[in-house]
């Protein structure tokens, strides 16, 4: 499967109070998945071209991570390459996965969810592009998967992980499927120094819980999520900063037309910015932050059926997002209202999801940890699109 999303975004009162209109190709990716050895070996790979199509990052007021702020960073070219071995012992199925990809933590990658703009909590709710080994077992409606991985985040699209760091971090996720198409998830992770490649930055302790519902045809989808990341100074063995997020999103598709709504409250760190107000220093130059900002967002998206048929499909969409930002503590030196020159911000986005081939229903899990179920139709799912693998 290959996809790309040409988009135009107008952001009012984004970083430094600017009103900007920009266009680029977002989420340019080629994904492949294949089963070998009668399904006992699965290979998955995702190449991401955002380093070429949106090197400056995608305008996204409130977004943060990997040195970008108020822009979503481009992902690494080698986004994911994972091999999984799968097996069964009676009613219990198991898998072991290794490669570069997602650690067993949190919710699906936003790339397979109904909005083009990522939620602000991306770096609180997913751990991705890491060298990892993940084991998973499934017994009836219960799934447990755990990863050991390297904590360092990519610093650029070309970043390769520090193999010296492999194994310095771990995560554990439990998933329950109490009813068909209903999924409850809880995760915990300890991530060593994600922001400082040599390992001397703050560590993170992360938690995430979620409930996900989807109808059998993928036409109705609902996700509720809570996440919390605590920064910890390992030298002093002391928690120092904490960031919390709550998110609810859903979508409804009728006759090929989809409507999606997302509301989110997420806290993010503020750092001293570079001359480019959308960037902060990487590598970091100290362990200080200039505040914690609480963001509230409401996003509505409307997606239309593809007007073209054949191997290439294009699904037009528009998204409107309103955000507000305020300091969690009024003593902070970062004053959001002053910086954005407004107490609220708007983003208007229009684009087309271009796709060839069937897309994945889920992203962020491997082997037997992938629950069965359809893809969310709001992304323009066609009848030929794959459901995720079933494991019994």
């Amino acid at each position: 499967m290959a996809q790309a999303i040409p988009v135009v975004t107008h952001a009012a009162n984004t970083a430094a109070g600017a009103d900007l209109t920009e266009g680029y190709v977002s989420q340019a990716a080629v994904m492949g998945r294949g089963d070998l050895l009668s399904g006992h070996l699965r290979l998955e790979a995702t190449l991401n071209g955002e380093g070429l199509t949106m090197a400056r990052g995608e305008l996204s007021t409130g977004a943060f991570g990997e040195g970008y702020v108020d822009r979503r960073h481009p992902h690494t070219y080698l986004h994911e390459i994972v091999a999984s071995g799968l097996g069964a012992i009676g009613p219990l199925t198991y898998s072991v996965s290794a490669g570069r990809g997602f650690a067993a933590f949190g919710t699906d990658d936003p790339m397979v969810r109904p909005f083009e703009k990522y939620p602000i909590n991306h770096h609180l709710s997913q751990i991705l592009e890491r060298p990892m080994v993940t084991g998973a077992i499934r017994f009836g409606p219960a799934i447990v998967d755990a990863s050991t991985f390297g904590g360092d985040e990519p610093a650029s699209p070309r970043s390769s992980p520090s193999m010296r760091r492999l194994g310095d971090s771990w995560s554990l996720r439990a998933t329950a499927l109490p009813l068909p198409l209903v999924e409850l998830q809880g995760s915990y992770a300890r991530v060593a120094s994600p922001e400082q490649r040599e390992g001397f930055g703050l560590d993170q302790r992360k938690r995430d819980v979620s409930a996900r519902l989807i109808s059998a045809d993928g036409g109705r989808y609902l996700l509720a999520e809570w996440a919390r990341t605590v920064d910890r100074d390992h030298g002093r063995n002391e928690d120092v900063f904490a960031y919390e997020s709550a998110l609810v999103e859903g979508s409804l598709t009728l006759r090929g037309v989809s409507l999606a709504l997302r509301v989110e409250q997420t806290e993010r760190p503020e750092e001293e910015r570079l001359t480019d107000p959308f960037r902060v220093p990487r590598p970091i130059v100290d362990l200080a932050i200039s505040g914690i900002t609480q963001w509230r967002t409401a996003t509505v998206a409307l997606m239309l059926p593809s007007p073209i048929f054949g191997p290439i499909r294009g699904y037009p969409f528009i998204e409107i997002e309103r955000t507000t930002a305020r300091a969690r503590d009024a003593r902070s030196v970062f004053d959001a209202e002053s910086f954005y020159r407004s107490s609220s911000q708007w983003m208007f986005t229009a684009g087309v999801r271009l796709r060839v081939g069937s897309r994945h229903a889920r992203m962020g899990r491997y082997g037997v940890a992938v629950p069965a179920g359809p893809a969310i139709r709001a992304l323009g799912t066609t009848d030929s699109d794959a459901s995720s693998h079933h494991h019994h």
Binding site: G235, V240, E272, L274, D329, R331, S332
Partner: protein, 419 residues
């Protein structure tokens, strides 16, 4: 490279004096200082509070960073400036109790002016610029109220950002010791010969620090380096008897202080005894600027520089230390303590000998050492009694007063502590 100064004009000071100064003017009596524009908190009771003489007649909208005081003038730098606004440093008349803004000087192509220092002869002001592009600016203080830019020194080695620029004289020659941020390459120390301030010459550079080198302290041909998680290094650069020089330093010793995060250093030379036994090490833990900070002061016995060792410490729960200054004649260390205000510590005498009851175990350590608080070494506390929160970056003792740069409020003048 000459660069024109962009000034706010002398009218600025007059304007702010009109706006704020009336309440403060004409009231510089030491017993009842005028602090109308920075009042004490209602009911504030701190037994050993330092007397606040006054605060600046102008509260900068920018975030204040370091302070340098000479004579009756103070210079304060600014941090985290908007790229469109450029950076500035302020010039204050501190002859009276209320520091009065005289002027401001704009520095282009810098987000932060994290360090500012006056040479020992008062001839030059050196300002460090940080986060792309890193440099030092050298200003002539022929007229100290109107610094004139002499040169801006930058090269590929400094461009990642100059975090601090300590100025010191080694065998009569003036040098700047630049702590350069990690960028495309690891952090490094760069030593620059300033004997011709119009034409600074780099004489040495070295990747160093894990992962940062944040500050240095130079005295008598010995250079102390704050190497974060690599602790403190002590180099002979001309006074250590090992043949070192600024162009070819020779390491004398290293020490790892509790919990690392070594940020700044003061090597105390007691003029009454000529003892130079102790170095004070500032640990800068993670901080949320304006809100919270962490980090202790570590006392290192350097009487044997080949084998320095930590013998005592000082901690303030819920607050973290930053830069130091000393009244060496009185043996009093002043520490900027961010949200903990200013701390004045009696550091004369033996700091490494104490009773068991005077010992504590530093956080996340297993061995108890002397605790300056339990030893009764805390003489005074400043600025914790104000109505508005403070976040003190730097301090300087001079002539019976202590000047503090406060990231949130600008500049303060306090009466120095006494024994």
């Amino acid at each position: 490279m000459a660069q024109p100064l962009i000034r706010s004009g002398g009218a600025l000071g007059a304007l702010f004096a009109l706006a704020f100064g009336v309440a403060c003017s004409g009231d510089d009596g030491p017993t009842e200082p005028a602090t109308n524009n920075c009042p004490a908190a209602a009911g504030a009771t701190v037994a050993n509070a330092m007397t606040v003489l006054g605060c600046g007649n102008f509260k900068p909208a920018r975030t204040t960073a370091e302070i340098a005081v000479r004579g009756t003038l103070a210079y304060t730098s600014t941090w985290g400036n908007a790229s469109t606004a450029g950076s500035v440093f302020y010039i204050w008349d501190v002859a009276g109790n209320t520091p009065a803004l005289l002027d401001s000087v704009k520095v282009d192509n810098a987000r932060t002016l994290g360090d500012i220092a006056v040479t020992d002869d008062g001839a030059y002001l050196v300002v460090a610029t940080e986060i792309q592009s890193g440099s030092i600016l050298v200003y002539s203080l022929a007229n100290p109220r109107q610094p004139q830019l002499v040169t801006r020194f930058t090269n590929a080695e400094t461009t990642a950002g100059v975090h601090t620029a300590e100025i010191g004289r080694v065998n009569g020659k003036l040098y700047a010791f630049l702590c350069v941020d990690p960028g495309g390459s690891p952090a490094k120390i760069v030593i620059v010969d300033l004997s011709n301030p119009a034409s600074p010459q780099q004489v040495y550079s070295q990747f160093i620090g894990t992962p940062f080198v944040h500050d240095t302290f130079v005295r008598d041909g010995i250079l102390f380096l704050a190497l974060w998680n690599s602790g403190v290094a002590i180099w002979d650069i001309g006074g250590g008897g090992k043949g070192g020089s600024p162009a070819a330093p020779v390491e004398l010793g290293r020490v790892q202080t509790a919990n690392g995060e070594v940020h700044n250093i003061w090597w105390f030379k007691d003029p009454s005894t000529n003892s130079a036994k102790y170095a004070f090490i500032g640990e800068e833990g993670p901080g949320n600027i304006g809100v919270s900070a962490l980090g202790d002061i570590h006392v290192v016995d350097v009487s044997n520089m080949a084998s320095p060792r930590e013998v005592a410490y000082y901690t303030v729960p819920g607050a973290g230390t930053h830069n130091f200054s000393m009244d060496e004649a009185s043996g009093i260390l002043y520490a900027a303590y961010y949200n903990g205000g200013v701390r004045a510590l009696d550091v004369r005498g033996d700091l490494g000998t104490c009773t068991d009851a005077q010992k504590s175990t530093p956080r996340n350590q297993t061995v108890a050492i002397c605790d300056l608080s339990k030893m009764g070494r805390e003489l005074a506390v400043g600025l914790t009694d104000r109505a508005n929160p403070v976040f003190v970056w730097g301090v300087q003792f001079l002539n019976g007063s202590v000047y503090a740069s406060d990231m949130l409020n600008g500049i303060w003048k306090l009466r120095a502590a006494s024994r």
